[in-house]
Amino acid sequence: MIVANRKPLEEILGMLKPYKKVLLLGCNECVTVCAVGGEREVGVLASELRLARAKDGKEIEVREQTLERQCDHEYIDQIRPFVGDYEVILSMACGAGIQYVAEKYRTKPVLPAVNTNFLGVTLEQGVWSERCQGCGTCILDQTGGICPIARCAKSLLNGPCGGSSNGKCEVDKELDCGWQLIIDRLKELGQMDRYEEIIPVKDWTTSRDGGPRKRIREDLKL
């Protein structure tokens, strides 16, 4: 899922300075799974905002609302009946959700309460790790199911660099060398012959490098 982390309270308070009536929108999907913007976290942030404002002798009214997702029309439409009562929307969804809300409610400022980080997985409760860069040309079949673009710090395509040492990357001693992981997995799968196949220079046009992307399925359009 998409993993994000909440902005520091100070930053959020700074963004909210001119406002007294805030609609705090959570999201029930990715940000709930990574414990950043779900119903619980909305409750905690709302509480923090009220406490911080009260401490400075100022008021704030925060409505807590958690939508199923903020990346689909139908769910964002659900706030239409009451969005007019608020001066600003503070969204805890990922960047995609925050922007979509802004697109739909053009006369309301929409502020981000989180920093969106990466596409990742849950290693254990409380720990999330990056796995995918959304490069648009998946080669996981050639690398034993481990992505060299996302998991190698240099996104190398044909084996580790000289900085790989004891299975760790030179960038950070806690970071596994992506290519070490790939080689270990290819050995386990009995596919070491794949390692000999040269993966050619990557065509990055399918990635964000080719410009903002769009996918269309004509058969699904109404």
Binding site: G43, L51, E61
Partner: protein, 115 residues
């Protein structure tokens, strides 16, 4: 045991300190309390195995939040005691009361609307 302890301590009974959520603590401060403490089983002796350890971590987390917000982490504490330790219960009640008295009333007392 009929021991005395300060009357300003209000007890909220929970089956285990592991039941205490971050939001419960924050809402308590919103309602105007000057301090909060959790009294849980001795470490390693939690009736529900690890509830008190979860509570300990949550208390650490909320202490961080309280510092961020400006109320100060000193207003929240975790204590461990056996349910047989009546004396310790009274002692902790007195200790916490003194601590909070020294910190003064909560700066957000009566200021948070609608709670």
């Amino acid at each position: 045991m009929r021991l005395n302890y300060p009357t300003n301590v209000k007890i909220v009974k929970v089956p285990c300190t592991g039941r205490v959520d971050i939001l419960l603590i924050l809402r308590a401060f919103e309602s105007g309390v000057d301090g909060v403490y959790l009294a849980g089983c001795l470490e390693g002796e939690c009736h529900f195995l690890r509830g008190n350890l979860r509570a300990k971590k949550r208390v650490q987390y909320v202490k961080g939040l309280l510092d961020e917000v400006g109320l100060g982490s000193g207003r929240l504490e975790m204590y461990n005691m056996s349910s047989a330790q009546g004396q310790r219960f009274a002692e902790v009640a007195r200790e916490m009361t003194e601590k909070i008295r020294a910190l003064g009333p909560s700066p957000v007392k009566n200021r948070v609307r609608g709670v």
